[in-house]
């Protein structure tokens, strides 16, 4: 038989719409079996103890990206984090950093989606489409693989130290999305499309501290994308300069 142990959950509660509301930790003691996930416990707390507790959830299998939060200081998806993973019987849950809190563990994701939309996150082509598929080699498909895996959970956005001080910074996920298309052998966006991130609020703002890589639950490495985009921009600048030099000569 699996033995149930008592865990203490401290959850940061806050209601942005309640005048005078201040963030506070609420404590819940709950008996759980070791195999249970943090999300499963959150659902039990909401069902059995406090129906007002707010958090997002959907797939409960680490593919939809709803339940990102800070769990004992580490940013992760609540659904894939085991309660027993921390060598302690106290679990502290806080909302994702770098966002405004709406209620409890629910943050306002709007800035994240604005950055996403800003990079033109879609395949751009001008050539006529063939009747069948556009061919792509297995190798070319592999080049975009890690960025394709992004589930837009915003764990990286919450972990980013640059966003903590510069809310206008594009953030790791949107940069990774742009690189996903730049690297796609089928994409035909003009070189100028990168200009959108060619400044301090774009890829040059990154401190390359790699916190986004650490936070990603899907093994995406957004820093690879940022470094890749920087290289492409430098290459374009160099080509432009050479082109100009030729013109002048």
């Amino acid at each position: 038989m699996i033995k149930a142990d008592t865990f203490t959950f401290k959850i940061l509660r806050y209601d942005a719409r309640e005048p005078g509301s201040k963030p506070r930790f609420a404590t819940y003691r709950i008996r759980v079996i070791p195999g249970l996930t943090v999300l499963a416990v959150l659902i039990r707390i909401r069902d059995e103890i406090d129906g007002t507790l707010s958090f997002r959830s959907s797939c409960r299998s680490a593919v939809c990206g709803s339940c990102s939060m800070v769990i004992n200081g580490k940013i992760d998806l609540a659904c894939r984090t085991q309660v027993a993973a921390f060598n302690t019987d106290t679990i502290i849950l806080e909302p994702l950093p770098n966002f405004e809190v709406i209620r409890d563990l629910v943050v306002d994701m709007a800035p994240f989606w604005q950055m996403y939309e800003k990079v033109q996150p879609y395949l751009i082509r001008h050539s006529p489409v063939p009747e069948k598929e556009l061919p792509q080699s297995e190798e070319d498909r592999r080049r975009i693989d890690q960025f394709v895996n992004c589930i837009l959970c915003a764990c990286c956005y919450g972990a980013c130290p640059v966003l903590a001080r510069e809310p206008g910074y594009v953030g790791p996920a949107a940069a990774a999305k742009l690189e996903r298309f730049i690297l796609d052998s089928r994409d035909e966006r003009p070189a100028g499309a990168l200009e959108i991130l060619n400044d301090e609020k774009g890829v040059w703002g990154c401190d390359t501290l790699l916190r986004c890589i650490d936070a990603c639950p899907k093994d995406v490495r957004p820093t690879d994308a940022i470094v890749g985009l920087r290289k492409t921009m430098l290459k374009h600048r160099f080509q432009n300069m050479r082109g100009k030099a030729k013109d002048e000569a």
């Binding site: 909401r46 997002r56 593919v63 709406i102 994701m109 792509q136």
Partner: protein, 567 residues
């Protein structure tokens, strides 16, 4: 009040495809209770069927063969004209998704990769590793962003407005503010997903309550074939997370506690790649007869990938490997995966025709919440992603035609009345009632898994019906302590529960009345298919007294005469 020409409810593949097909010509608003990329389409793993004939073993595949496999897989309950439409559209929509950027896996010649799936005569399932739903949903969301589709994310639709035989729109709640907003439109399209969560053991996301289906039913739209519920053979024990059919497509074995590939005793030709209804019954039989494994999280059999080798597992099934490691601490490279059957898909749903139109003017539905029917009594793996996109596209075309033909203006008064009704309902739910919505749902879903599952009998289902009727009584006394409207998930759960009760009611009734076994509906007391009496669709309609009235509808047969279904 918000106003659009067309309202789309649901941000999954069907809703997004419909929106993308309509937004150039009409003013479209898409309401989704989660951010669209959180929709359950994201969780589809194995692939999407289309007879591209890319795989060397599928050179003479065709849409006709795909249609035949679909009809046979449906145990001849699918409408053959609709199945034909879907299979004819399959190759064009897969190419379209590819042109829009969908990153499919590739074969060495650069074409879209295809793998074998259950019940299919050829390797026909196009895939992207084991995240095919993820790549398709992202691609369609990207397309919607590119086209500037107006999206209302995290808005929850609370009621559908039908009056005088036509649809005027919906009443929705903006969950960020808690405000109730009537939304008026000439055409309303539901792509709201299936009803997996009325079962306790389900592979489905928590949001798959089937509330859209119950909502349409309560507004007067009939439902079809609700008793046909698919149980996926391989869900992880404990959480019931899906272990894709692609595992078996890539060659995985199913083993019992004797280490035996038991499928050879049941279906020696197709083995592990028999259709899902059959494989699920085989696994359940092995477990019932003592040849399963015991585990604190439940009885199970083994899904064994080890002989595929680390390289193939990592390349083709990386998501499965990660889920196993994260959720049960098992690396399938070294250990077999403990699996049990779990509810997976709703074949039944809102009764619509081959152009996604319901009998109510201005109301349409597509994807898993609808029943066209293309899946009949059992859906083939790889056909649900196909259905979502094909019928999103077809719905867009149908709505376009209907609106261009001149649709009557929707009326405001019925919407305002409906808003008042929802308001009163919320007042009641946030009153002093003592019933907890989650307890009702938990009890009901346990009864559905236990008594209306893979093997069914009259006696067990009559008990389930009794539980349901009691739950309906108890629902009157449901109380949510917090009156706050915004981000009050307990409140939205309570609102959805009302609709889930109707889904459960129509499912049990359909299953009780259908005294035969067909596809996923297996009656131990009526183990044979009975075409003479039951080759027909079940229709459930809410009567004037609020009670379901069951009738039937002809199955459309074009070129495939019903035969015994053998694999």
């Amino acid at each position: 009040m918000i106003e659009h020409d067309i309202l789309i409810v649901g941000g999954g593949l069907t809703g997004l495809r419909a929106a993308v097909g309509l937004c150039d010509r009409f003013n479209v608003g898409l309401i989704s209770k989660v951010y669209p990329v959180r929709s359950h389409s994201i969780a589809a793993q194995g692939g999407i069927n289309a007879p591209l004939a890319n795989n060397p073993d599928s050179r003479d595949d065709s849409w006709e063969k795909h249609t035949f496999d679909t009809v046979k897989g449906s145990d001849y309950l699918a409408d053959q004209d609709a199945a034909e439409i879907m299979c004819r559209e399959a190759a064009p929509i897969v190419y379209e998704m590819e042109h829009w950027g969908c990153p499919f896996s590739r074969l060495p010649d650069g074409t879209i990769a295809q793998r074998p799936f259950g019940g299919a005569g050829y390797p026909r399932t196009c895939y992207s590793a084991d995240i095919t739903g993820h790549v398709l949903l992202n691609t369609l969301y990207e397309r919607a962003v590119a086209k500037g589709v107006k999206i209302y994310p995290e808005w929850f639709v609370a009621a559908l407005c039908i009056e005088d035989g036509r649809c005027h729109g919906v009443v929705a709640m903006d969950t960020h503010s808690g405000e109730l907003v009537p939304a008026r439109a000439k055409a309303t399209f539901f792509g709201t997903g299936g009803y997996g969560r009325v079962y306790q053991h389900s592979t489905n996301a928590l949001i798959n309550t089937g509330s859209g289906i119950g909502m349409a039913y309560k507004a007067g739209v009939p439902l079809k074939d609700m008793e046909f519920v698919q149980f996926h053979p391989t869900s992880l024990i404990g959480t019931n997370i899906l272990m894709t059919e692609g595992c078996r497509g890539e060659g995985a074995y199913l083993l019992n506690n004797q280490g035996e590939r038991f499928m050879q005793r049941y279906v020696p030709t197709a083995m592990e790649l028999a259709p899902r209804d059959i494989v699920s019954r085989c696994i359940q039989t092995e477990m019932n007869e003592g040849r399963g494994f015991d585990h604190p999280l439940g009885k199970h059999v083994h899904l064994d990938l080890r002989h595929l080798g680390e390289q193939k597992i990592q390349e083709r099934l990386p998501g499965i490997r990660k889920i196993c490691i994260d959720f049960i601490g098992i690396d399938p490279v070294f250990e077999p995966i403990p699996v049990m059957p779990g509810q997976h898909y709703s074949m039944g749903g809102i009764d619509v025709n081959g152009r996604c139109a319901s009998e109510v003017r201005g109301f349409y539905a597509g994807g898993e919440c609808s029943c066209v029917s293309v899946h009949g009594a059992n859906r083939l793996g790889g056909n649900s992603l196909l259905e979502t996109i094909v019928f999103g596209k077809i719905a867009a075309r149908a709505i376009l035609e209907d609106l261009e033909g001149g649709a009557p203006e929707p009326e405001t008064k019925p919407l305002l009345r409906l808003k008042d009704e929802v308001e009163a309902k919320i007042q009641r739910l946030t009153g002093p009632g003592r019933e907890k919505p989650y307890l009702l749902q938990a009890e009901l879903s346990a009864v559905m898994s236990g008594k209306v599952g893979i093997f069914r009998t009259r006696e067990a289902m009559e008990q389930a019906l009794q539980t349901l009727l009691e739950a309906k009584e108890r629902y009157r006394n449901v109380g949510v302590p917090s009156p706050a409207r915004y981000m009050n998930y307990e409140l939205t759960n309570a609102l959805e529960l009302e609709y889930m009760l109707e889904v459960v009611h129509t499912t049990i009734l359909g299953a009780l009345l259908r005294e035969e076994s067909r596809g996923a509906h297996f009656r131990l007391d009526f183990p044979d298919r009975n075409d003479r009496d039951w080759l027909k669709h079940t229709i459930a309609r809410m009567g004037a007294d609020g009670q379901p009235v069951i009738s039937s509808k002809e199955v459309v047969i074009t070129r495939y005469e019903p035969k015994e279904r053998k694999y």
